[in-house]
Structures are given as C-alpha cells and as structure tokens.
C-alpha cells in the first residue's frame, strides 16, 4: 500500500460524503487520540458542562485551564481559532467564504476551458488536459478543506451558545457530521478514562460521583446522536486505551489499531534524498517550500498567494485524520504486519528508523574508528563525546560522563575510578611520546576511513597497533625504574623526573 500523504488526503476528503460513518469515525478518533497528547480529563468536563448546567460553575473551576488548551487543540492549533470559537467573528467568516467563492470561480474557469478544448477538438493536447484535471482535483480539495475548516470554526460557537439549551443542535451536529459528533461522543469515554485518576482528591471524587449520576442525561444525548449517526459511536474502541501519556510520540503512544491511518513508504522512497516531487516535471525536493517555489515556473496559477501559502496552516484549521507510518521491512516491529505493531509517528522517524535498523552503518567515527552509524546525525552526536571523556572504573566499565561513573563507584564496594591516561603525563610520559601515540592513532584513522567490509580487518589491526604503542609508551612501563638510591643515603640522589633527562646532566 503505497500511498503518498497527498493521495490519502484526497481519498479521505472525498470519502467524506459517500462514506459518512467511516469518516466520522476517523475524525472522532483524531480528537480522542490527539497526537499532542493533551490530558483527556478536561474534554469530558467540557461536555459535561454542556449538558449539565447546574454543575457548570464547579466543573469549570476545576477544568478551566485545561479546557482552553483542549479546545484550541481540537478546532485549530492557533489561539486565534480558539478565540474564534469563543467569540465568532463574522468578518473572518466572510473572508473565508469569499475565498471559497474565488476558488470555485477558478475551478469553473478551468473546467470551462476544458470544455472549450473539447468543443474545438484540439488534438495533441492530452498532456495539458491531464494537468488541468489535476489542477481541478487539487482546487476542489482545497475548496473542500476550506469549507470544512470554515464550518469547523463556526460549529463550536453555535454549540457553546445553543447546545446546552437546545437539543436541536445535536441534530445539527448530526447533519454537519464530524465536528459536532465528537464533541458529544467524548462523554461516555470520559467515565472510563478519568475514573482511575480519582485518587487525586476527595473533591475530585465528589465531582466524579455527581458527574456519574448526571451522566445518564448525557447518555440520552448520545443515544440521540447515535440515532442520527447510525452505528458511529458503537464502533469507537474506547475501552482499550492506555491512559498513560507520554511525550515520546514514537514509543509511548498506544494508539488502538484502526484509530489512525497507516502509511507505508517504500524503501526507495525512504532512502530517496527528495520527498517532494513536482507533479508536472517530476523534479524532487527536500522541502515542500522549495517545491512550491519551483512550481511558480509552471504557470501563473501557481503564483497566487494561495498556491504559495504554506498548506499546513490551512490543514491544521481542520481536524485532519491522524496518520502513522509503517516500516516497509517485513518482520520489523514497526511493520504493520507485525503482531505488536508500533507505528512510527513521522516521516523523519521512518527515515531514521529504517536507516538505523535495516541499513548498513556506513558512517564510521574517525576518532575511535570502531563506532559505526547509519544516520549521520548519530555520528555527529557520538563524535562530540568520543574518546575525550572516557570515564573508566576499576572494574572495567566505561562511562561517558563523570557523574555516572561516580554514581557507579558510590554504588559498588571497592570500585574506584581508574586514573585516566591523560593524567599519567605527570608520571613522566614525555610530550614526544604522547605525540607519537597521537600520530599512530592518526595513521590508523587514515587507513580505515574508507567504508566497506573488506577494510574491516585492517582497521582493527591498525587500532590494535595504536593501542599497543600506547601501552608501550604508557607510564606503566616506568614501573620498572628501580630505586637506585634506596640504600645509598650518603650520595646525592641522581633520580630526576624523566621529563628532565635532557638537561638534568648539566648539574
């Protein structure tokens, strides 16, 4: 299943009307499993206030701060959207509608031109026709998105003002399908979600109790909604939530299967240097922005502010389908066929995961000559710490940080930090000797800087040589120095620090 993000976007938006039930499901789960992992608690609180006015004040006082966050996450990532929801601005609405109007006119023009061409029976223009068709689809998608986002901004404000008093809004929500329905569908989920956290305080428990009693009311509402939406709410798998929230988007999130869309990029695509391709000429780009700049060359229609604008901004205004990625490597835990499949969160994660797990490690640290990496950023991170701060314990364990070593030493009886070899200079290793060690090390590095399996043996040999020479020059060899002066008190000692040999004799 090779689907580009763009294509999936299209499919989801186009299916919105035809396959309403599934679509609602998708949108709803997006809310439930908001990737930013906002705590769930505030959300139900909000719905609770909606259908239980007498309790409103208390729940607000408890949930207020989170609630704002939640709502902003729900209906738009920007704070302006949040304020829109609370205080509906007709001017923005008007500008949105006029934008829609413009767009529709554009599409009309394109379609008209196609019809014109058909009428004039112009040959050899099939390529151009295909381009125009693509343009039409793109524009239609854009219009749809704009429409939905406009409606989305509109809906909560209606809900806020009317929902608590007028049950017809529920029907309205049903009509408008996605955005309203998830507002209400959140409430049953709330019961299960928050209860485990009750331990926090009696106040909270009380609140929960009262909430539970009044939730029947909410259930009725949901039933009502269900009647409108068909089998929508039944299909929501809320039970198997892991309530643990984690900032680590990759491993920590436990999305229930089916609650997100899975994309699987092919190996070539992952390893490709470019990810954004021009639909007209096929040129690849690393960044979407660069692609958009490039698109200007293909015609005036790409020069409009709308075409040049960052598309994500508009997308964010609308609750997009949650999207996760699968690794194309069969048998990998990150592959969607795996039993315990754990999806990858972003395309970057996919790239790094694939390179780290399923590719050759072609970047070799030039300092230690042993560590290999497949992601260049990893190599750079390693090189920052490689060699310089090697904290060694007497037991042979090495640490990258001194405090870690000292923690280890504190923990185990009899372990001590080993004296680092740099310090042994004091004991007489001349600078010259040290320099030669460095030099031999350098040679080793130069000899093995070529990635490739055949040089492996040579490499290790070289490092060994370097190590040996180091040992040879290490101060341990000075142990053999005997104390000549042990029994000869009377004569002045000629024992001089070895570093001073050059001029010691002058005395």
């Amino acid at each position: 299943m090779k689907t580009t993000p763009k294509a999936s976007m299209k499919s989801s938006s186009s299916s919105m009307t035809s396959d309403a039930a599934r679509d609602v499901n998708h949108n709803k789960t997006f809310i439930q499993f908001n990737p930013s992992n906002v705590p769930y608690a505030p959300r139900p609180g909000q719905t609770f206030t909606d259908f239980s006015p007498p309790f409103e004040t208390e729940s607000q006082s408890l949930y207020h701060p989170d609630r704002e966050v939640k709502t902003s996450n729900q209906f738009g990532s920007t704070p302006t959207m949040n304020s829109l929801m609370l205080d509906w601005d007709p001017r923005t609405m008007l500008s949105n509608l006029s934008f829609l109007e413009q767009k529709i006119h554009q599409v009309q023009d394109i379609v008209r031109s196609i019809i014109d061409q058909e009428e004039h029976q112009l040959p050899n223009r099939t390529g151009e026709l295909a381009v125009r068709q693509q343009l039409v689809t793109a524009d239609l998608t854009c219009i749809l998105i704009q429409l939905i986002s406009t409606a989305g901004t509109l809906l909560p404000s209606i809900k806020n003002t009317l929902l608590s008093t007028n049950p017809t809004v529920v029907q309205l929500g049903g009509v408008l399908s996605a955005p309203t329905s998830f507002v209400l569908n959140g409430s049953p989920q709330h019961n299960e979600v928050v209860t485990p956290d009750i331990t926090k305080g009696s106040e909270y428990a009380e609140l929960m109790k009262s909430f539970n009693t009044s939730s029947e009311e909410g259930d009725e509402l949901i039933k009502c909604l269900n009647a409108c939406d068909g089998e929508v709410s039944e299909s929501v798998p809320v039970e198997d939530h892991d309530l643990k929230e984690s900032d680590d988007g990759i491993d920590g999130e436990n999305l229930p299967p089916g609650s997100y869309e899975v994309l699987q990029l092919e190996k070539e695509e992952i390893l490709a240097p470019h990810t954004h391709f021009c639909l007209i000429c096929g040129k690849g780009f690393k960044r979407d922005a660069n692609l958009r700049m490039h698109m200007r060359g293909h015609g005036d229609e790409y020069k409009t502010p709308a075409a040049l604008a960052k598309p994500t901004k508009e997308l964010n205004a609308e609750p997009t389908l949650i999207r996760r990625y699968s690794c194309p490597f069969l048998g990998c835990k990150r592959n969607k066929e795996h039993k315990k499949f754990q999806p990858l969160k972003t395309i970057l994660c996919v790239k790094n995961h694939y390179k780290r797990s399923h590719c050759d490690k072609s970047y070799i640290c030039s300092r230690c000559n042993t560590k290999k990496f497949s992601v260049i950023a990893d190599l750079k991170t390693h090189e920052k710490h490689c060699g310089r701060d090697k904290w060694l314990c007497s037991c042979g364990t090495t640490f990258s940080r001194k405090d870690k070593l000292f923690g280890h030493v504190a923990l185990f009886q009899g372990h001590t930090p080993a004296i680092s070899l740099d310090d042994s200079k004091v004991s007489g290793m001349s600078e010259q000797a040290e320099g030669s060690v460095v030099m031999s090390g350098m040679e080793g590095i130069i000899g093995c800087n070529f990635p490739g399996s055949t040089s492996q043996d040579i490499k290790s040999l070289d490092t060994k040589v370097a190590d040996d020479s180091f040992n040879y020059l290490s101060p341990m060899n000075f142990d053999s120095c005997s104390f000549d002066g042990l029994d000869e008190f009377s004569r002045p000692f000629s024992f001089l620090p070895s570093g001073s040999c050059n001029f010691g004799r002058r005395n």
């Binding site: 030493v409 004296i419 310090d423 001029f503």
Partner: protein, 666 residues
C-alpha cells in the same frame, strides 16, 4: 616553660650551660629504662640537645626514646634515620627537595612511621608514596599540602594505605575528583581531610567522599568551586565536627540551610569570605546546630541582621569563638552578642565599622572570659575601651589593636596592670611611646609585641621590654626610626628566646646592633630591609650566631656585599628564604651562596646590578634545582638560557618576573 623544667629535672640534670654536669659515675649507673623515663619529662628541644651531649649512654637512650623528628636538611637524613629507630612522626617539610627515591629509602628505614609530613615536597611522585605506603603499615596521617606536583596518581598511591585517618592535600592543584574518589574509596576510616585549594574537585567528588567516608570529623573545602550540592552531601556526615569552607563563593544560604538540616554534630564552622552567604544562612545554621563552638563569618556580608544575633542565644552555652571581621556593627548588636554568648573566649571584630567604646564596654561587661580580642582597624576606640576590657576581662591573652590610633599609654597601663596573662599585643600604627612600653613590660608573659610604625619608640622603651619580657618570641619594630643599637642590645640581652625580629627601616642600626643580636640562637626570622648602615661584617656575625636562621630579608641593604653572602653560605645552613634585592653583590658571591645553601627555597634577586647575566646563569644552575620560588627582573627572561629556565621549571620552581625601575631609596 623554664619553671616546668626546673621542677621536673633534678638540678644536677640541668646541663644546658654545661657547668652543672654530674659526675661520670652517675651517668653510667642509670639504666636505659630509667633514662627513658626521665626523658619522658623533658620536652624542650634545647634540653634534649643538652641531654644528647652528656654521654653515649644518654645519646642511646634518647635515640631509643625519640618518636618525632623534623630534619632540617636532607643530607642529614640517612644518619638520623640510622640513629632513631623508633620514629613514629616524621616531618620532612623542611626538606622540600625530597624525591621518590629518597622517600622510599626513608620509608624502608623507618617502618614504624605513623605520621608523615611531606608538605611542599614538590618533587615527590606516586612511586615514592607507593613505597612509603608499602613500607609503613601503621601509617595514620599524611600531609602533602602545597606539593604542587601531587595529583590523582599520587592520591591513588596514598589511598593504598587503608588505615589512614588524616590526609592533608591543601593546594595539591593536580588532584581532581578522581584522586579524591581514590582516597575516599581507599581510606574508609578517614577522619580528617583537608582539600583546600584543590580547585579541580567538584560536587561529584565531595558527594562520593561523603558516601564513602562516614567517619569524617574534620573537613576543609576552602576555596573549592563547590555548590550547595556539596553541602547537601556533607550534611549526611554524622560525625562532622569541624567544617572549613572559606571563600566558597558558590555556596549560599540555601546550602547552609541544608547543612543545618543534617547532622547536629558540627562544632566549628568557618564561612568567611563566602560572598553569597548572608544572615539568613547563618541563622539557620545556628538554629540547626545547637552545639556550635566556633563561628567564623568574616568578610561574608556587611550587614549584621538582628535576626541572626538574636538566634545566637541558641548556642549561648557552647559558643566560644565568634569572628565577625568586616561587618557593620552597631552598639546594640554587640550588646546582643554579649547577652547571648556569655562564654565567648575569642571575638574578632577586625575592620568592623561602628565599633565604639560604649559597645565594647557593653560586650566585655558580660563576656568576662574573653582571651582574644581582635579590634584591628576599629579606629574610633579610645582608652575607655581599654579600661573596660582591663576591668572586666582579666584573662585576656591576646589583644590586637592595630590602627587604633586614639589609644594612649594610659589605657595600656590599665591593661598591663589588670591583665597579667597578656601574651600578645599588636600596637602597630597606634602611635604609642616609651611610657607605654614601660607599662607593658609589666606583662612578663608577653610573647608577641608588635610596634610597627610607632615612631616614638626609642631605646628607653626597649630597655624596659628587654629587662622584663624574657619570654618574648616576636618583636616587630618596623619603621621605628629612633631605635638604635643600644635598644637592640637591651632586647638581645633580655629576650633570649626571640625568634622573629623585624627591624625594617630602623635606619640607625649598624653592625654593632647585629653583633648584639648574634647571641640569639633561636632567632629564625630577621628582616633588615633598608638598613643602609649595616655591612657584611654584621651579617657575618648574625650568620654565625643565629644558628636557627631560616628567613632573612636584606632588601636595600646597600652596604652588604659578597662577604656577607660568603658568610651566609658558610654558616646559615638552614636558611630557606632570602631577599637580597638591590644589594651590591656580584655573580661570584651569588654563585657561592646558591651553590652552598642546601635548604634555600625562596630567593628574591631583583636589581642585582653587579651580577652579570653569566653570573645569574651560573648561580641558578648551581642551585641544583632546589629553588621553589624565584623573583627576578623580567628583563632577564629573554637573556637567560631557555634550558636553564626549563630546568628550573621542571624542578618545580616558580619564577615571578617583576618589572620595576631601579630606584635607590634611603
């Protein structure tokens, strides 16, 4: 001391002057056991010396009995170690040229060593320490302070001695956390540790130390760049009694708070010069440690808050020493201190502003046990303060009054009559006169007398001192321009035990005065700066007579030439520190001096205009790398051979290059 001697020893044993020698019969009759028992009661080193000279039997008894040794020169070590077989305490700080081989040999010869002082042994390495540790299983205390070459490797070698209980590593600059960890892991029974000035040691090392050495009682972390985290670790030391943390600028009140939450065993704390400590931290410290005995909070913060003073009552029964140098002190605060701490024995108010006669009288009215009163630079004090001190604190032993220029002989008279125990008085820049000295001479216990910048002092005053203060050890006559040879004669005849004498810029002094001084055998430090009249003959007399001479300052003695240096080279064998800047000496004399004196460590050779470059080159080469500190004109840096400079550096010599114009004064 002399009283003790006469009671403990039968009169026929008094052998110092040799005239009372008992007959040979008695000396042969006494068994070694008896002799050793007698020796137990002889403490004074001079008496011991006399003892050794009695007979071979006495010498043998002394060599069997002797446990301590402080050799002054390395050359004598072999013979000394052969003679003294039962040594337990060996102080090698006077032989800084000791190296690995030498120490290994010493250790092999003295296996019973418990305490070894290797301070300033900058040529010592880990091999020597390894040999020492291997040879002396009973090793208990090792002092490596100021051995700048000592690093982690040496600490590791030292840590092999599991039984060590005290280690001093002050200013061992190369020691890092790793070295400290070695010591901490190797010596779990450590009780006293000094790591002052070991600038590489950080919180991590201290934390490990606190975990591994729970027995620590004494810890000196002065001037370390440690933070509150270290104090958190230190607070877990259950037995800590003394904590010195001078100049720990990264420690603040929070750290002291942590410390006070920890063990309650703390008795002595020194937080002087900790810039970020304020009254709040001290308050929490006093609240947390109810048995604090000594607090030194000098130069921390200027304002003394009443909250802290009122909390001093928490430690009112135990507190004996309180040092508040550099504070803004009001009269009320001193009253509160007096009211809270009745048992104070020592108070330091040096450079405190706002100290008045009234506040002092209120303090001493309650704190009658005061022995040491430091009022340096309390400019507003008058005789009234001295009256109240004299009337209340009869047991005052040390009175520091530098720059209290309003005091007169009347106040000192009262002090001298009431405080007969007075041992130390500092009257520098107080403008006192001969009459005051006459009164002060009533204090026969006086050991330290500082009269610098009191230009009214003359020979008459010194005559009083010389005739009455036989115990005087230190006399400072800096810039007392009226003092002449006669005054010196009076001092030399009366104060036989004098050790330190400062005669800088007493310009009337001539060779005759120095001849008078030459009878003072114990004189070790002499400062003779700017005495243009003294010549080499006077120096020769001092070099011959003052056998203990260790420090000599001859800067700007324009008449001292090579002959003086020859005499020093020949006789002042223990000389360690010498200043001959501006003296008209030549390369030959310098060469002879540096080549002969084996103990010389610190030499200042600025503006020796008669010494050629070759002279410097030869002389410094002749010093055989013994020198540790050298002061030279910066112009010489380029003309002296790089080999020589490198050699000096390798041997641990630090050269201070100075650049100042040649100006003849006086």
């Amino acid at each position: 001391m002399s009283a003790n001697r006469s009671t403990e020893l039968p009169t026929e044993m008094r052998t110092r002057d040799g005239r009372m020698l008992p007959s040979d019969a008695i000396t042969t009759v006494l068994s070694v056991d008896l002799l050793i028992q007698i020796l137990d009661r002889i403490r004074d080193p001079r008496d011991r010396k006399s003892w050794r000279l009695v007979s071979r039997g006495f010498l043998r008894a002394e060599s069997l009995h002797r446990r301590e040794l402080r050799p002054l020169r390395r050359e004598t070590l072999p013979a000394l170690l052969r003679r003294y077989v039962a040594l337990e305490r060996l102080d090698l700080s006077a032989c800084p040229s000791i190296d690995d081989a030498c120490l290994a040999a010493v250790a092999a010869a003295a296996e019973g060593l418990k305490v070894v002082c290797l301070a300033r042994a900058n040529r010592l390495g880990w091999r020597g320490l390894e040999a020492l540790v291997a040879a002396c299983p009973r090793l208990d205390t090792v002092d490596l302070s100021h051995s700048v070459g000592v690093g982690d490797r040496e600490a590791a070698a030292l840590a092999e001695a599991k039984g060590l209980r005290e280690i001093r590593l002050d200013k061992c600059l190369a020691i890092t956390d790793v070295g400290l960890a070695k010591v901490a892991v190797g010596c779990p029974g450590l009780e006293r540790l000094g790591i002052k000035w070991c600038l590489e040691i950080s919180d991590i090392g201290i934390e490990l130390l606190a975990k591994k050495c729970p027995e620590i009682k004494f810890l000196d972390i002065s001037y370390l760049k440690v933070t509150n985290e270290s104090l958190r670790s230190i607070s877990s030391l259950e037995k800590l009694e003394d904590l010195y943390m001078v100049g720990c600028s990264f420690v603040d009140d929070e750290g002291l708070q942590l410390l006070s939450n920890g063990s309650k065993s703390l008795q002595c704390i020194d937080v002087s010069r900790c810039d970020n400590v304020s009254s709040r931290g001290l308050t929490s410290l006093v609240e947390g440690n109810q048995c604090l005995q000594k607090i030194n909070a000098g130069d921390c913060f200027p304002d003394l808050e009443s909250s802290f003073l009122s909390k001093l009552s928490c430690v009112k029964n135990t507190l004996t020493v309180l040092k508040l140098d550099g504070f803004q002190v009001s009269s009320s605060s001193l009253r509160v201190i007096g009211g809270s701490c009745k048992n104070l024995v020592e108070i330091g108010l040096s450079k405190c502003t706002g100290v008045t006669d009234e506040s002092i009288s209120e303090l001493v009215a309650i704190c009658v046990d005061l022995r040491t009163v430091d009022l340096t630079c309390c400019h507003h004090l008058t005789d009234n303060a001295l009256y109240s001190i004299a009337d209340n604190c009869k047991r005052v032993e040390s009175l520091l009054l530098e720059s209290c220029s309003l005091i007169t002989e009347k106040g000192l008279e009262r002090i001298a009559t009431c405080c007969s125990n007075l041992k130390e008085i500092d009257l520098t820049d107080c403008g006192v006169n001969d009459t005051a000295l006459k009164f002060l001479s009533a204090c026969s216990e006086l050991t330290t007398l500082k009269l610098g910048l009191c230009s009214d002092i003359s020979d008459n005053g010194l005559a009083h001192i010389g005739s009455n203060c036989g115990e005087l050890l230190e006399l400072d006559l800096y810039r007392c321009g009226r003092v002449t040879d006669e005054g010196l004669a009076a001092i030399a005849s009366g104060c036989k035990r004098l050790r330190r004498l400062n005669l800088c810029y007493c310009t009337q002094i001539t060779d005759n005065g120095l001849n008078n001084l030459s009878c003072l055998e114990e004189l070790s430090d002499i400062e003779l700066r700017g005495l243009a009249r003294i010549t080499s003959s006077g120096i020769t007399a001092v070099a011959i007579g003052c056998k203990s001479l260790v420090e000599l300052d001859l800067k700007r003695c324009y008449s001292v030439d090579d002959a003086g240096l020859w005499a020093l080279a020949r006789y002042a064998l223990n000389l360690r520190q010498l200043t001959i800047s501006y003296c008209p000496v030549t390369g030959l004399g310098l060469c002879n001096l540096l080549g002969s004196l084996r103990c010389l460590q610190d030499v200042k050779l600025v503006h020796l205009s008669w010494v050629s470059i070759e002279g410097f080159e030869l002389a410094l080469r002749a010093s055989c790398g013994k020198l540790k500190k050298l002061k030279l004109l910066s112009g010489l840096r380029d003309v002296l051979s790089s080999e020589l400079l490198q050699m000096l550096q390798t041997h641990g010599c630090r050269i201070r290059w100075v650049n100042k114009p040649l100006v003849f004064k006086g």
